[in-house]
Symmetry: C2
Subunit: 209 residues, 2 copies
DNA sequence: ATTTCAATCAAACGTTCGTTTGAATCAAAC
DNA sequence: GTTTGATTCAAACGAACGTTTGATTGAAAT
């Protein structure tokens, strides 16, 4: 169906450059140069730069979504009403796992996610598949059962806080670490700090209105 | 020293467009068109597009920094060791004040801040003046006294969480609200939700290592 | 040997970008 | 009335952009 190599190398190069310089800051020529491919390869394999970005995003987000989903399944298999701390860990864990797994790949992944989410262009942000929404809704329901006193609106607010804290933290780690050494120590510490931080935040009593 | 109008109108137009489409997504031509000025006006008044961005950022951030500083002064005048909740409110308050103050200007301000902070280009992120660092260090010291059991590293992590939660929330509000109606109700509720959320998070016991 | 077809390639397409130029404008100073 | 100096203007600059084209490759199918 496709070349076994250049297509993947284009995805790799694009993921790297999009994370480092953003979508608009990365030219198709820079991608093909890094991939060792011809300039026209992007058009041939993906159709356009935007569709390449979409493919990159899908490749990055899918395993995270799957891991989050599996983590929730594992929790629910044990007990129908997991504790807040366990839910937080299951949700944020995959984001941290990505990091220490690869050679600086994981922090870059987070950087890429923030680059996408933070980009004002609809074109860049519009790849959010239905799978992502499904996972979020499932966690929302689980958190709702664990925190029954919270209004749906405030619960949504707090869940948004989870993503904000983890994503921003990972970006900071990526920006400060040298390109070659991602400092896994800081990454592992941040993982536990984030769970402590977010569990306390989620578990706070409802804001009295 | 300068025209009373076009310079300011360029700043207004640039602030609007940078917030909505990002730095790279905004052309100098779009700015001058919206400002009703000539294309060359940006070069004449600011030197370059990058310096215009720097001027916009400074104009947006300075009043926030000043308000954060004044809020801390007010707290310290009352007691040398303010409570965590009061510190959180003094720090996040100015970010929320900006919103309900103006006609959709405040949420846009937050959108702009996130656009800047999230932009991978060093050129865009490098405007952080010394004033910003000073304010952050002062709050860091105050939080340190209020939370003496926390290691400096974990305290820094938690303070980064404050910015992450407030900024990301404000962006969400901006993206969902119609351009004309920023829904100040949601803004006022989010303000209290954020204080609750962050106070609990900051006050969590130290992560045991 | 010929056909076939996906893949790669150099080259060019037209557009948009940030910036620069040099003349035109206009009120204040002389 | 003339000069001055700051400001605005239309026009063009070269560079970089995403995309398209049409020829070329090379291995598998006939």
């Amino acid at each position: 169906m496709a070349s076994p190599d250049t297509r993947t190398q284009l995805l790799d190069a694009a993921e790297h450059l999009f994370a480092e310089r953003g979508y608009r800051g990365t030219s198709v020529r820079a991608i093909t140069d890094l991939a060792g491919a011809n300039l026209a390869a992007v058009g041939y394999h993906f159709g356009s730069k935007a569709e390449l970005m979409s493919a990159v995003a899908r490749r990055v987000v899918e395993p995270i979504n799957a891991a989050q989903c599996a983590g929730l399944d594992r929790l629910l298999a044990r007990t129908p009403d997991p504790a807040v701390a366990d839910l937080v860990e299951a949700f944020t864990g995959p984001l941290f796992d990505e990091m220490q797994a690869g050679d600086e790949g994981g922090a870059r992944t987070s950087r890429l996610i923030v680059t996408i989410l933070g980009d004002p262009a609809e074109e860049v942000r519009s790849w959010t598949g239905p799978a992502e929404d499904t996972v979020r809704e499932r966690y929302l329901a689980a958190f709702g059962r664990a925190l029954p006193d919270l209004s749906p609106e405030e619960l949504r607010f707090r869940m948004r806080g989870i993503l904000a804290v983890t994503a921003v933290d990972r970006v900071e780690v990526y920006q400060q670490s040298s390109p070659t050494c991602p400092s896994p120590v800081a990454g592992e510490a941040a993982r536990h700090w984030a769970i402590t931080f977010l569990t306390a935040a989620l578990s706070a009593p409802p804001t009295r209105t």
